[in-house]
């Protein structure tokens, strides 16, 4: 017969542990939806801020407003690699190029390497990596203009004066993208309405001409500057420049195809799943036991 007092004590101890565990404050860290600057949670809505003239400080352009869509939260799975089309868009306008090109760059190189991570059990950047990725895509704030937001969650930068022919600072790309559809109707003359990430096209003249224009948002930005959005991915920091496991044979990035020794593509040789392996062993052991008539 079981000891009733011991049962009561055991259930009581488990109940106390449950209560103690319930009091532990768990805070789910969500770096992909929280603003790293102000800590506010993304609401999933586009935020349009029109700074006043005093807030703009410089220039008196035609009512520039800057839009940042908080709906464009960081989604690791949604990050795409810049395609050859977006890379070779030198003859197109910066606005169309920005609209066509995927936002941001993927620090894991080509999609084939991303699949390599996936094959190892990773579905994308981990939470800390995602936070770092997001930090790298943030634009530095410009002085007091950043404090103008009433929500504390928007980033406002000053427009460069069209009269002063100085190089345009890189537009803010705090959260990676501004869907053109959400901007088009928000404010007329908005530089963000052009589909760029807040590029002041309305006041900076024909910044949307060709690449190399001083008004281009990417002008003067070194390709390895982590604080600017890249149209072309920088060299993969995790692999040498001459190796792309996913590249087809003959591709310069492939060891086998270029000057490598292989002459073919790279093949991985993963093990079977651990359940298959252990099941095999367990069945083998049980087979031996039955053969010996021990079970």
């Amino acid at each position: 017969m079981i000891h009733r007092s011991r049962v009561v004590f055991t259930v009581g101890a488990l109940a106390v542990a449950s209560a103690a565990a319930a009091t532990i404050p768990w805070q789910t860290w969500k770096p992909v939806t929280a603003c790293l600057l102000c800590g506010a949670q993304d609401s999933g809505e586009a935020v349009v801020v029109t700074p006043t003239d005093a807030e703009r400080g410089i220039g008196s352009g035609s009512g520039n407003s800057y839009t940042r869509s908080s709906a464009s939260t960081y989604k690791p799975d949604a990050v795409s690699t810049p395609t050859a089309d977006s890379n070779g868009a030198s003859g197109r306008s910066s606005s169309s190029r920005a609209a066509a090109a995927p936002r941001g760059w993927q620090p894991w190189g080509s999609s084939s390497e991303a699949s390599r991570f996936a094959s190892a059990g990773f579905s994308g950047p981990s939470a800390p990596q995602g936070g770092l990725w997001r930090l790298m895509s943030l634009h530095p704030h410009h002085g007091s203009g950043t404090a103008a937001s009433a929500t504390g969650h928007t980033v406002v930068t000053h427009a460069p004066s069209p009269a002063v022919n100085r190089p345009v600072k890189n537009p803010p790309a705090p959260h990676n993208s501004t869907p053109p559809s959400s901007n088009s109707g928000s404010s007329s003359g908005s530089p963000a309405a052009s589909g760029t990430t807040g590029t002041p096209t309305a006041s900076s003249g024909d910044s949307g001409s060709a690449s190399g224009d001083t008004g281009s948002p990417m002008a003067g930005v070194p390709p390895t500057d982590p604080f600017h959005e890249h149209q072309t991915p920088p060299p993969d920091p995790f692999h040498g420049p001459g190796f792309d496991p996913g590249a087809p044979a003959g591709h310069p990035g492939s060891i086998g195809g270029g000057g490598g020794l292989g002459g073919g593509k790279v093949s991985a040789a993963p093990e079977p799943g651990s359940m298959l392996l252990l099941s095999t062993g367990v069945l083998g052991i049980f087979g031996i036991l039955r053969k010996r008539r021990l079970i």
């Binding site: 017969m1 079981i2 000891h3 009733r4 011991r6 049962v7 004590f9 055991t10 259930v11 101890a13 488990l14 109940a15 106390v16 542990a17 449950s18 103690a20 565990a21 532990i24 768990w26 390599r116 094959s119 190892a120 059990g121 496991p245 060891i255 086998g256 490598g260 020794l261 292989g262 002459g263 073919g264 593509k265 790279v266 093949s267 991985a268 040789a269 993963p270 093990e271 079977p272 799943g273 651990s274 359940m275 298959l276 392996l277 252990l278 099941s279 095999t280 062993g281 367990v282 083998g284 052991i285 031996i288 036991l289 010996r292 021990l294 079970i295």
Partner: protein, 279 residues
Amino acid sequence: MIPTLLVALSLAWLYGATLQGLLTEWVSSADASYGIVLVAVAFVVVWRRRELFSRAYDPHDNPIPGLVVLLAGLGLFLIGQLAADVFLTRISFVVAASGALWFLAGARATRTVASPLFFLLMAIPLPALVINAVTLPLQLVASRIGEATLMATGISVFRDGNLLELPSTTLEIADACSGLRSIVSLTAIGGLLAWSERSWPRRLALVAAGVPIAIVINGLRIMVTGLACELWSPRAAADPWHTISGWLTFVVSVMLLIQLQRALSTSKRATWDFDPVRA
């Protein structure tokens, strides 16, 4: 019956979320799916030993050791909760369940189900900290073994880190090829075999032998894959051939482990009918 059910429900209430996460990982991760098999084996062993458990049941046994283990398990659970350490929380389930069993049923009854509890402990996936620390060294070791054995067979190979460049193709010893799955699975099988042994040194030897056997066999598996790529086609490194070769090499590993147990056994007949109550 009702008191037992009450304790089981209390444990389930406390560890519901933990067990749910564990089940999700078993189902979703190929590295951890071996846990399902171990849990099934544990249930089978418990079922087969139910009579033995009933005979060994002693409610008037000294409660202090079981109480200490139970409280230690619950303390571990709270530490795991505070530290947000999933591994600690999962481990604490086995400790708390063992403590509750010991506290309620006595030491002898707990010993009859010690092997299923040990299998449950082994079914808990290794923490990511350990996996991340051992994966790369295992990859490099497997690459070196594959390189050496391929060169011994007369095939020219150039190793660049974890890449084996062969004349026809390049083999990448990726994370999933490190041999960790084989090590974990073979160690679990070693644990199953060890439970039929009486002496603890032999048990430990059987469990520990799984690691070197798995590492060497994984290197040989890579050699076989490279050999097949050269002699047949680079398609040998793709499905389904690499799965079949991996499975076959694991069967060889299990046979090696069984032979090792035979070699270690002093008597010809292994003590499969080991009775922990009598021991």
